[in-house]
């Protein structure tokens, strides 16, 4: 405490500059988002006023109501279904794989290397064959096709988040249970999986967010009935004033859930998104 205060007094100029940098960056993040958020509640006549009107003259929900005719709610529903289903598949298979890699070194170093190259490979390298594959089995414009593709995209990374967690858990728990006569399945189901719940949840949450926000494959693999929210939003390119309100409303219904889920688990994001490379 005391030392802190002394330092504070000594480095005051740097402290001020530092605070300024933080505040400016905070505003840089907030302002564009808040601007969009206000648009969603502004009556259309506010959009064209000069100088720009910061707060809505008369807050309205009319834009959210108009989303019915613009496929946005269908898009949101599709996005939620696909993301929930794919993150479930991804987390069920990915976490046991991550556990095996951590605990039994399954596949050794080469397998880990392969998993990481999967993470780094630009997905568009397999865009063409994935499209042909999904087309061949008749799953274009079908939520099942997209769900399977997203499960595969996220599985390496849920496996890696879970692996990074189990690597830090000492073997003692397992050894003790084994000596007490539990078999491998019991150890995994009753001891190791419950222990890993935080990491497994985090892996699932990130898998959800990745699927919920994906655009490139959704735009190629969906046509009409299974379009996801990002695809619907990408079509909103008009410049007319009547267009902006619904667009801003869509931005909100897409951004808010993803950000809330992401922030709940962001502490795990480092391992998730960099695949544990920090230690390297």
């Amino acid at each position: 405490m005391n030392a802190d205060r002394k330092r504070w007094v000594r480095i005051k100029p740097t402290y001020v500059v530092g605070s300024l940098v933080l505040v400016v960056y905070g505003l840089f993040v907030l302002i564009p988002f808040l601007w969009t958020a206000t648009i969603a509640f502004k009556p259309p006549e506010d959009f064209v006023s000069t100088p720009p009107r910061i707060l809505p003259s008369a807050p309205t929900f009319v834009h959210f109501k108009s989303l019915n005719g613009l496929n946005a709610w269908t898009g949101l529903r599709n996005s939620l279904i696909v993301s929930l289903a794919s993150s479930t598949i991804s987390v069920v298979f990915g976490s046991v794989a991550g556990y095996a890699i951590a605990r039994y070194k399954t596949g050794g170093r080469n397998f880990s290397f392969w998993l990481i190259s999967q993470r780094l490979m630009p997905p568009l390298a397999i865009l063409v064959p994935i499209f042909l594959l999904v087309n061949t089995v008749g799953l274009v414009d079908n939520l099942i096709g997209l769900t399977l593709i997203y499960s595969v995209f996220t599985i390496t990374f849920t496996a890696w988040v879970v692996r990074s967690f189990y690597i830090m858990i000492p073997d003692d728990y397992e050894q003790a249970a084994r000596i007490d006569g539990a078999n491998r399945v019991q150890v995994l189901w009753h001891i190791m999986l419950p222990l890993g719940v935080p990491a497994i949840l985090a892996g699932g949450a990130f898998a959800f967010v990745v699927s919920f926000t994906e655009f490139l494959f959704a735009s190629i693999l969906t046509r009409t009935k299974s379009t996801t929210l990002p695809v619907v939003i990408s079509h909103m390119l008009g410049v007319q004033a009547t267009f902006l309100g619904p667009l801003a409303a869509m931005v909100l219904i897409s951004a808010v859930p993803a950000v809330l889920i992401g922030l709940l688990f962001y502490r795990h994001a480092v391992t998730g998104l960099s695949m544990g490379g920090v230690k390297g």
Binding site: A100, T106, A125, T213, L273, G280
Partner: protein, 321 residues
């Protein structure tokens, strides 16, 4: 208990014959290791199957697609050798979009790592209250869909309805009429700014994690030895931070090479092809016009080989170290 510390196990696993495992469980011996191995393989199997079906097979298929004729104009798929590759490589559009992709990725990576480092250095000195407000704020944009990020910045900067020019005019005292989404280089700047807005979050998180992991005793020792604040940063903190900085730069660069979604919304890759990345090339060749999937596949392989050559050693050295 009987087992070696985790680090030793990892080291042991890197040797092809992980003899350490047996030596640490002497009373159980070979049979246990076999059973462990089998159980591990069972657990990994579904993941491997999924990856083979949706990643390995498509990759192999795309090798084939890149070596044949595969478009709507020609029926059947006659073998053409490397013709698709030479066609792509001699296409000036491909080359200029490849250059734009790498240049844009490098630019945003440098800015995002620099900014992430600055924010992390400042916040590492701050109280809990600062961190509790700033970290979620810095991190939040990376969870927003890139398409949505593009729309947010379009709504903010577009000349016709965005407020940006008006407020820039107030600040500079002149009439600002920049067309942020159309005029080069402003359109490129808008794309870069939107990317920085979204992804500084990631570089910040990686660097901040590295920074908080530094042993405080080292810094205190340097302070005792009379190093001032600047020298401690220059000669102690930054060298210790090098791995985290490299990791942040590496992952961000790898991801930035895929830049597509934001640009679709912001500029549509235009005007002309001025802001088109390699992804635009692949999508346009393969999924419009004559649906020339062969050219698209060949282009993606050229891109993939380029990246692999760049990344292979880095992954081996850094990420798996």
């Amino acid at each position: 208990m009987l087992h070696a510390p985790e680090e030793e196990l990892i080291d042991a696993a890197t040797d092809k014959a992980d003899t350490d495992m047996t030596s640490t469980t002497p009373q159980r011996g070979h049979g246990l290791r076999q059973a462990d191995r089998r159980w591990g393989r069972i657990l990994v199997a579904p993941t491997v199957v999924l990856l083979i079906v949706a990643s390995i097979i498509p990759l192999i298929y795309s090798v084939w697609a890149s070596l044949v004729t595969h478009n709507l104009r020609v029926s059947g798929h006659p073998f053409v050798g490397l013709d698709n590759y030479t066609a792509v490589l001699s296409d000036p559009v491909f080359r200029s979009e490849l250059i734009f992709t790498f240049a844009m990725a490098a630019t945003v990576t440098i800015i995002e790592v620099g900014l992430g480092l600055i924010l992390a250095l400042i916040l590492s000195q701050r109280s809990k209250a600062w961190r509790r407000i700033m970290i979620p704020l810095i991190v939040a944009p990376m969870f927003i869909s890139s398409v949505v990020v593009g729309q947010i910045w379009r709504l903010f900067s577009a000349r016709t309805f965005g407020p940006l020019n008006h407020y820039l005019g107030l600040v500079t005292g002149t009439d600002v009429t920049i067309d942020w989404l159309v005029t080069t280089p402003w359109n490129m700047i808008t794309i870069a700014v939107a990317d920085v807005w979204q992804w500084t979050a990631l570089t910040f998180l990686i660097i901040f994690a590295g920074l908080t992991g530094i042993d405080q005793q080292v810094l205190e020792a340097a302070e005792v030895d009379g190093a001032n604040k600047w020298n401690r940063l220059r000669y102690v903190t930054l060298p210790l931070m090098a791995p985290a900085l490299a990791t942040a730069a590496f992952f961000r660069f790898a991801d930035a090479l895929r830049l597509y979604d934001k640009i679709v919304v912001l500029t549509g890759g235009g005007p002309g092809r001025a802001t088109s990345t390699i992804s635009f090339y692949l999508v346009e060749k393969g999924f419009s016009g004559s649906f020339n999937l062969a050219l698209s596949a060949a282009a993606s392989w050229i891109f993939l080989i380029l990246i692999s050559l760049m990344f292979y050693r880095i992954i081996q050295r850094r990420v798996l170290a």
